[in-house]
């Protein structure tokens, strides 16, 4: 992890109609840093994550990625998105393509790389997430945990500068959560820059460099995980932790 900031949000505001989902949010993520965003439902943490690659446009403030402000639209925005991998809660694998095609599609269509070279890279990524032997299947033939690991491989195939995770384990059966978190933990150890919206407090404790707590569209508190979980400063965070950690 370096001191150089990769993702910088400055006084970001967003409204859904009258609902103020992001309220003056400022956040800086350094290269190689793993930031876990937690908070109650409706606190704006998913919107924050999606704003970073402009799947959600913001109304006010600035977001800078790797020193450049986010492009508004068109090819330059598409290019930025190709440098930021995203993993969704509902996997969103392309349903009409095989697992291998899902992983190869970005590099071949967006980056125009040679299919032969991409194929080798895609297969080694699938092997890495433990799905190599399912490469010719279709997404619907895989379990949720397997699909999510393919989604991570699909994001990695673009050799992104950062990865965004929007509640990657929330739609999974409990016994499949571990296999996805294992992949994420190993990525974190290798120095991938990650922004992870999650309810997995275990992952936040052992893999995060920093925990960011959001409530009601505001960034309430941020601290290293050990400090945050042992000694939350705001009442809102204390209340949240007391509700989830007593079980």
């Amino acid at each position: 992890m370096s001191d150089e900031a990769l993702i910088v949000l400055d006084k970001v505001n967003k409204w859904f109609g009258p609902l103020h989902v992001l309220n003056d949010v400022s956040l800086s993520v350094a290269k190689g840093e793993v930031v876990v965003v937690i908070g109650p439902s409706g606190s704006g943490k998913s919107t924050l994550c999606r704003a970073i690659n402009r799947l959600e446009p913001i109304n006010d403030g600035t977001i800078t990625f790797d020193g450049r402000p986010l492009p508004a639209e068109g090819r330059s925005l598409a290019r930025l998105r190709s440098e930021v991998g995203m993993v969704f809660q509902s996997f969103n694998l392309f349903a009409h393509k095989t697992i291998l095609q899902n992983v190869m599609l970005g590099p071949t269509k967006v980056r125009k790389e040679k299919p032969a070279a991409v194929r080798d890279r895609a297969m080694s990524l699938l092997d890495r997430v433990g799905i190599g032997n399912q490469a010719e299947k279709y997404p619907a033939q895989l379990s949720g945990g397997q699909q999510q690991r393919v989604a991570i491989a699909r994001a990695l195939a673009m050799q992104p500068k950062a990865l965004l995770f929007d509640e990657p384990t929330s739609a999974l059966d409990p016994e499949m959560v571990g296999e996805v978190l294992d992949v994420m933990t190993s990525l974190a150890k290798e120095g991938m820059t990650m922004v992870v919206v999650t309810h997995e407090m275990g992952f936040a404790r052992h893999a995060a460099n920093r925990v960011v707590f959001m409530a009601d569209g505001q960034l309430v508190e941020q601290a290293p995980p050990a400090e945050f979980f042992a000694n939350p400063k705001s009442d809102r965070a204390k209340d949240f932790l007391s509700k989830i950690l007593t079980h």
Binding site: N53, R75, R81, S82, V84, F94, L105, M158
Partner: protein, 241 residues
């Protein structure tokens, strides 16, 4: 005076239609007529499919002008009787504006008919595909955008292939309707099946019902398997979620 050999035959007596259709010139009228129908269906179907996909893409595009053109097209051509559109192709495009594809009058009428059938049917194809686009979960487009695909790439690589598979059965119904609609091109003089039938009936007043049944049956024999074929294809190509 009618002799015993000339007495009107029973309408369902098979001898009369056999007499009518065993005459080589009559058989030629019948076969040429239905070949026109098949050609109109194939050429009109190809035109309508291409045009319909482009219109659907326009209607879901982020550019308001394109959306407006797509919407106007659908509203105008879907709500104008096909007979009027075919008339316009002949009297408007050809007679008044001088639009002509080839010198041969029959062939030119055929192409005018293809233009009319295509622009009309494209409106229905567009709406079928647009409803197919609605069956594709929003997450598919989001994932495509997130890996850096442009709007056109997202549409052509991810959305349309899935939308198309979802609407194969309705597209089959549109094709069947198109095949039957192509008889309307007879109104501008092409000797397709309905004109051929009219001619044969005029010349063989003693065999009206058998002649009608032969022509109607020909459509049924071709179109019923077409419907089943599309149903089979729709099942086979369905996207599993």
């Amino acid at each position: 005076m009618a002799g015993p050999g000339d007495r009107p035959r029973h309408p369902f007596d098979l001898k009369v239609p056999m007499d009518v259709f065993s005459d080589p010139s009559n058989r030629d009228v019948y076969i040429t007529g239905f070949l026109w129908i098949l050609k109109l269906t194939l050429a009109g179907g190809a035109g309508a499919l291409v045009l319909g996909v482009v219109l659907a893409a326009m209607r879901v595009s982020p550019i308001p002008v394109l959306r407006g053109v797509g919407t106007a097209w659908v509203n105008i051509f879907r709500n104008t009787p096909l007979t009027l559109i075919i008339f316009f192709c002949y009297f408007g495009l050809f007679s008044t504006l001088g639009f002509s594809v080839v010198d041969d009058i029959d062939l030119n009428n055929f192409w005018l008919g293809v233009v009319g059938l295509s622009v009309y049917t494209a409106a229905f194809v567009c709406e079928a595909i647009r409803s197919g686009i609605n069956t594709v979960p929003a997450g598919q487009a989001e994932a495509a955008r997130a890996v850096g695909m442009t709007f056109i790439q997202t549409l052509t690589i991810i959305i349309l292939p899935q939308a198309g598979r979802a609407v194969i059965a309705p597209l089959g119904s549109i094709l069947i309707a198109l095949c039957k609609n192509s008889t309307i091109v007879g109104t501008i003089g092409l000797m397709e099946s309905s004109n051929a039938m009219k001619d044969l009936i005029n010349a063989n007043g003693n065999a009206v019902i058998p002649i009608f049944l032969v022509f109607a049956g020909t459509f049924a024999i071709v179109l019923i398997p077409t419907g089943y074929g599309f149903g089979w294809l729709a099942n086979r190509l369905a996207v599993k979620r």
